[in-house]
Amino acid sequence: MDREQIKTELKGIFAEVFATPEIEITDDLNAEKVDRWDSLTHLNMISEVESFYSIKFKLKELIGMKNVGDMIDLIISKKA
């Protein structure tokens, strides 16, 4: 899978979950950089991403995920 394509797809999900249509998806994007990214919206975002790609993250993978770049790596490895 193409990272750029995933970023475009994530933009759609993030824009909706965090109610920020203009959000820019970069590898180092994390909760500190988005106002409405908190515990609840984080879990909503995760479950949206899981259903979009028909994948399931493991709890330890979620704990290790420090930014969007880590998440893209995981999506790629799960879809491979």
Partner: protein, 475 residues
């Protein structure tokens, strides 16, 4: 038993032992000892023996609280993210003129910041009168001002005697979870109890979102004893199959009604470990009843709400003629700070025992107690007490001419607050209300949604029909 003596002895005898990890960073009893050596004199010099502690997620904040206790001072935890008006109300009501801030950045008129000494001094446990307040916590009040609940040294000592009598066989090897904000009294047992046994406590990594940070602490810190709010189970449940916590031997749930469904889920995740439901309001010091979930037989419950069991050793329980649960004994607070007559009437003396009306409806069956919800409009949001009247009062102070009413409903992520305002929707009104509410109330009291209505539905008595509003929201 004197809990302060036990803690002081453990500090002196276990200097090299692990005391806590804060966001993953380890600290020994010697680190605590050094903080005490540097600060003991300054604590001694506080004129009215009261200190505001600005809560930061760092070791020095915990060390300051523990030093306050060992020096016999009264501490008031202050969340610096609270709205300014609330911080002002808390400082004025508790007559604080000294604060400790590990960031050294808190500024407030006529309040000095506590500093350490250049020179380390040998500290000694200070002998004090146990009727003195150990801490004052502020909870939601119906008058629009936060309500101060003082807990005396004697109250907390009674709680810890009760705790010891719960038979948990705690040793210095135990590792306690500390997942609570420090303005919440469940944090007090999470950091004080381990120190009585020379054990350690472990906080969550605040750089992670809550459920992940919780699981990460339970797992990587090898927690053996965890006190949690029941909603923590709901947060972890989407990942139930990944949960593996071989070190956890005891889970206690407190702060909200525990549901049978939640216990069953948790029991499946960590089979063959002890699960206790503990119950009690801030006014009766942390918790004062306990029910142990049986391993084989069915879980006792009433309408799906798990039994709260029996009183702990220093507490007596009775149910008033109206069906309200009353808590009596050594754990019960002396009474609210600057109490109004209505607030004073929440406490009474019977056969020389000091009692508190809990506000919870209850019943007793086979010597075991069951809670059936509130007699008033108090609700819990993620374990925090919220008086709906306080939200209504805040809305009224912003728009005095607009009638409003607040309700709480069960949402997807726990209890949600909804505010109904009687006027036409207008973007300016909405943003002014949203903005100003955040200036007046802590985050957990901010409504999930504001509804604009032409009229309120009324019941047969001509009062606002809150049940109809709840149905509207649920649909």
């Amino acid at each position: 038993m004197d809990f302060r003596e036990l803690i002081a002895t453990n500090i002196h005898n276990n200097l090299d032992a692990l005391c806590c990890t804060i966001s993953g960073e380890p600290y020994t009893y010697n680190d605590l000892n050094q903080f005490l050596e540097i600060h003991c004199q300054s604590f001694d010099n506080i004129s009215n023996s009261r200190i505001g502690i600005i809560i930061r997620n760092d070791f020095n904040t915990y060390a300051a609280i523990i030093s306050s206790i060992l020096n016999g001072v009264t501490f008031v935890p202050i969340n610096p993210n609270y709205p300014e008006q609330r911080i002002t109300d808390i400082i004025k009501a508790s007559e604080i003129n000294t604060c400790y801030d590990s960031f050294n950045s808190f500024r407030f008129e006529d309040v000095n910041l506590l500093n350490g000494n250049e020179k380390n001094e040998i500290w000694r446990l200070k002998t004090i009168d146990y009727s003195r307040f150990c801490y004052i916590l502020f909870t939601s009040g119906t008058t629009g001002k936060p309500k101060g609940v003082p807990i005396s040294y004697s109250n907390i000592n009674a709680f810890l005697i009760g705790f010891q009598n719960l038979g948990y066989n705690i040793t210095s090897e135990d590792r306690f979870l500390q997942m609570f904000e420090l303005t919440f009294d469940l944090s007090v047992v999470s950091y004080i109890a381990p120190l009585m046994y020379g054990a350690s406590f472990h906080t969550l990594d605040t750089s992670m979102v809550k459920p992940l940070a919780l699981y990460d602490a339970l797992d990587s810190q090898k927690i053996t004893i965890a006190l949690m709010v029941p909603s923590a189970i709901d947060m972890l449940m989407p990942y139930a199959e990944d949960i593996e916590l071989p070190h956890l031997r005891l889970t206690q749930f407190c702060g909200e009604a525990l549901k049978k469904r939640q216990v069953e889920l948790w029991n499946n995740c960590i089979p063959n470990t002890q699960i206790d439901n503990v119950y009690g309001p801030t006014e009766a010091t942390i918790y004062c009843t306990r029910y142990t979930i049986p391993q084989n037989n069915g879980i006792l419950h009433h309408n799906g709400i798990v039994c709260i069991g029996k009183a702990m050793s220093e507490t007596v329980l009775e149910i008033s003629v109206e069906g309200e649960l009353c808590l009596g004994g050594g754990q019960v607070s002396p009474g609210y700070l600057h109490a109004t007559d209505e607030q004073k009437s929440k406490f009474y003396l019977k056969n020389n025992i000091h009692f508190y009306y809990s506000g919870d409806n209850a019943s007793i069956d086979n010597n075991l107690f069951y809670c059936h919800g509130r007699i008033d409009d108090q609700v819990k949001i993620q374990g925090f007490r919220v008086e709906l009247a306080e939200l209504e009062f805040a809305c009224n102070s912003i728009f005095p001419t607009l009638e409003n009413t607040a309700i709480a409903v069960d949402g997807n992520n726990g209890t949600e607050l909804h505010l109904f305002v009687k006027t036409h929707y207008n973007e300016n009104t909405q943003s002014k209300l949203q903005h100003n509410i955040k200036q007046l109330l802590p985050w957990y009291m901010v409504p999930h949604k504001i509804h604009w209505v032409d009229n309120f539905p009324l019941n047969v008595n001509g009062k606002i029909d809150k049940n109809k509003l709840k149905q509207q929201v649920s649909n």
